[in-house]
């Protein structure tokens, strides 16, 4: 390998030039020296003599340039390194802080979602409770008379006789109406109104001055009493009561109007009063 012909990298190339195909890698590995050096060297052997001095200067200049490039490249890289590293560090820092933020958000999201689910379940459960409460309010409201009701029932119309006021017997008294309402309850009424005044546990039928008052309001005859209940049995049951008998007597003897009519539908107003001043409930029903 010490003599020139052996060293020449041109030999494998001249061999391979005959070949149809030489692997690219093989070519790269073997042909590492510029062919030109060999060509020039062969030419020089025949003509002899050194290359002209201007090319020598060129070679030095090129080396100078190379040195310059080397220095610059080194300098550049050295300058860029901290910048690149800093940028990278900043990037990583941002990524990590974003990661942390996202983790926090996801934790918040999870707890929020939990809370919302619980609230929804609570509300759903409440809806059932509320329905129960509403049903209770409704059925108690009907019984207490605070809710207006509609249903089949009877309508009783009573009126004073044509006799002049003051003539005994011909005028309906508060006790007559009390007994009539009492008899209607007895006959199975569920709700009763006298001249559109709902009968509640607080409602009194009284006589004040010259007029009957219901719920502190004066009424004038004829009085219309409406009651919900079984329209088929109520009229008969009403007339069987002692009050019913008494009213029939009144009708027969004093020409007082007493008319009981079964109705498919009667509307009974509610009495909105539902606050108590003195009584307090002890224990729920």
């Amino acid at each position: 390998m010490s003599d020139k012909p052996d060293l020449s990298t041109g030999e494998p190339r001249s061999d391979s030039s005959g070949d149809a195909y030489v692997g690219l890698l093989t070519q790269i590995m073997t042909q590492t020296l510029d062919q030109d050096y060999l060509d020039v060297a062969q030419r020089r052997e025949s003509s002899s003599g050194d290359s002209p001095p201007r090319w020598q200067v060129g070679a030095v200049a090129v080396l100078l340039l190379f040195g310059l490039m080397l220095g610059l490249a080194a300098l550049n890289t050295a300058q860029e390194k901290p910048v690149v590293a800093a940028e990278r560090a900043e990037l990583i820092e941002q990524i990590e802080s974003n990661q942390g933020k996202l983790d926090n958000q996801q934790a918040t999201l999870a707890s929020l979602s939990d809370e919302v689910t619980k609230l929804q379940q609570l509300l759903a459960a409440n809806v059932a409770d509320d329905r129960l409460l509403t049903n209770q309010l409704t059925s108690l409201g009907i019984d207490a008379g605070t809710l207006a009701v509609t249903g089949p029932g009877v309508e009783v119309t009573v009126d004073d006789s044509g006799y002049s006021v003051g003539e005994s017997g011909g005028v309906i008294l508060d006790s007559d109406l009390q007994l009539l309402v009492n008899a209607l309850w007895q006959a199975g009424a569920e709700a009763i109104a006298v001249d559109e005044h709902r009968m509640t546990t607080l409602t009194a039928i009284r006589f004040a001055g010259e007029a009957i008052t219901v719920d502190y309001r004066s009424l004038t005859p004829p009085y219309i009493i409406e009651a919900t209940g079984d329209p088929d049995t109520m009229p008969a049951r009403l007339l069987e009561t002692r009050a019913g008998q008494a009213w029939l007597d009144l009708e027969a003897n004093f020409d007082i109007q007493f008319e009981v009519v079964a109705k498919d539908k009667v509307s009974i107003p509610g009495d909105a009063r539902d606050n108590l001043l003195y009584a307090e409930a002890k224990g729920a029903s």
């Binding site: 020139k4 020296l33 060129g58």
Partner: protein
């Protein structure tokens, strides 16, 4: 000897003067340096083989640098600049390796 002196002078000048390279050329400097390195080692080996020629050296140096830069530029335009510069560096690296191996054989006779 003059050549080595020129090289050292160039490095020092580069470090000292810190001439600013246009930003457009900056990405091509490292690849140009590697290409130049290939030419320099090729020249060194030729020198040791006794077939060194200044003209060939100058031409191979300049063309190496230009072609390497051109290939990478082309790669950048095609969107494969990173991969292409890797390829160029692999090829040049192999050449540098074998040239350095030849130089080593000359220097250490082994």
């Amino acid at each position: 000897m003059i050549a080595v002196f020129g090289l050292v002078l160039g490095v020092l000048a580069g470090l000292w003067l810190e001439p600013s390279i246009p930003a457009a050329l900056q990405p091509y400097l490292p690849i140009a340096v590697v290409a130049a390195l290939d030419a320099v080692f090729g020249g060194l080996r030729a020198h040791l083989d006794g077939i060194f020629d200044d003209k060939v050296f100058v031409i191979s140096f300049v063309s190496n640098v230009l072609i390497a830069a051109l290939i990478v530029y082309l790669g950048d335009q095609l969107g494969v600049g990173g991969q292409l510069s890797t390829g160029v560096i692999v090829v040049l690296g192999i050449r540098i390796f074998s040239n350095v191996a030849a130089i080593r054989r000359h220097v250490f006779h082994a």
